[in-house]
Symmetry: C2
């Protein structure tokens, strides 16, 4: 029942996650279709991604601004993740010191094809040692902090999306949309990426 | 406890609502602050909006792509709404014929300061008779349908945000972000609008 060999996209959610940080990539990956247009989006037939949210434990998650979401699965119950999205938000401030979260991100990163972050989600990747000696970016308000967490990170201050091998980080909040579209482009080509951007009426920024 | 005379922003959610359609405006309105920068966003002290989601009835809502959200209130329990956001998504196809939904939108519109839509949310406003003789827009794939639902609507085919008195409609999906920032600009001025866009690292498109 998975004719496309669909990739599992796990989006990490936690209390204090910034709404657009997770919702932007959720929108892009869940609405990507290999067949263009609008009708192809009425079904999952040509959807190359299976997208779900993952929290540390069961129970509702409260995002920034009070949006309440119900995660699809937990660290313990999540299926294998091919592409991990680590969003940001003020909630990351506590999680950079949370051994359980960092260990989970490390274990997923070891087995996934793509590791991505939006905004201050990069702080979690850095704290987990996953940005060592890599170029990376984050929200403009956290660029210095990123370099403090891991001084070996080459902090990119003027890029919206930074891609280094299997790791893609992005600037703040809305840049997660550009990041996700860039990942789609690298995996499925310019036409598929342009089609989901057109569907979303989004103009990609570099 | 409401020193700013905060405006209540109600965001309608329903099964099949497009994720970014509601999440974009949720992000903009909930992260707007009258004091600039990042620290002002650590509290609600200078937040001019109180943002909540509203569904027809209690219970979880499943957005497009399967994102599960828990509405803050229902048609029956929602506080007075000053600014209504009607998002789009395939779920609107059933709702354009749902008398209860249309009656609720009409009753909120009568008492609110601002009536807004994103994407195919405009179809619901049109079906509720709220776009009569007005310029309006919607997702590019639904422009013809908008004119069919109410032939008196002046369908704007090349605008991202259309503002006519108390009614603001926007083009597809990501255009809801521009719509919300435009409403912030009209209510609180260029600086406050530019500050939330900068916080979100979003470049407004016209």
């Amino acid at each position: 029942m998975n004719p496309l060999n669909r990739r599992n996209v796990g989006i990490f959610v936690f209390d204090g996650v910034e709404v657009l940080d997770f919702a932007g990539p959720f929108e892009v990956f869940s609405r990507t279709r290999l067949a263009p247009g609008i009708d192809s989006r009425r079904s999952d037939e040509t959807a190359p991604f299976e997208v779900f949210t993952v929290a540390a434990a069961a129970g509702m998650v409260t995002a920034t601004g009070g949006l309440r979401i119900e995660p699809h699965c937990t660290f313990a119950t999540a299926p294998p993740i091919d592409l991990l999205v680590v969003p940001g938000g003020f909630g990351t401030r506590a999680l950079v010191n949370d051994a359980g979260t960092l260990a989970w991100i490390q274990s997923v990163a070891e087995r996934s094809e793509h590791l991505t972050s939006v905004c201050t989600g990069a702080l979690l990747l850095a704290a987990a040692g996953l940005l060592r000696d890599r170029p990376a970016t984050t929200h403009w308000g956290a660029l210095d902090l990123l370099g403090q967490i891991d001084p070996s990170v080459q902090v990119e201050r003027d890029m919206r999306v930074v891609h280094d091998g299997a790791v893609t980080t992005s600037a703040g909040v809305s840049a997660g949309i550009d990041m996700a579209i860039d990942v789609v482009r690298r995996m499925f080509g310019d036409d598929v990426a342009a089609d989901v951007a057109r569907y979303m009426e989004y103009e990609v920024r570099r």
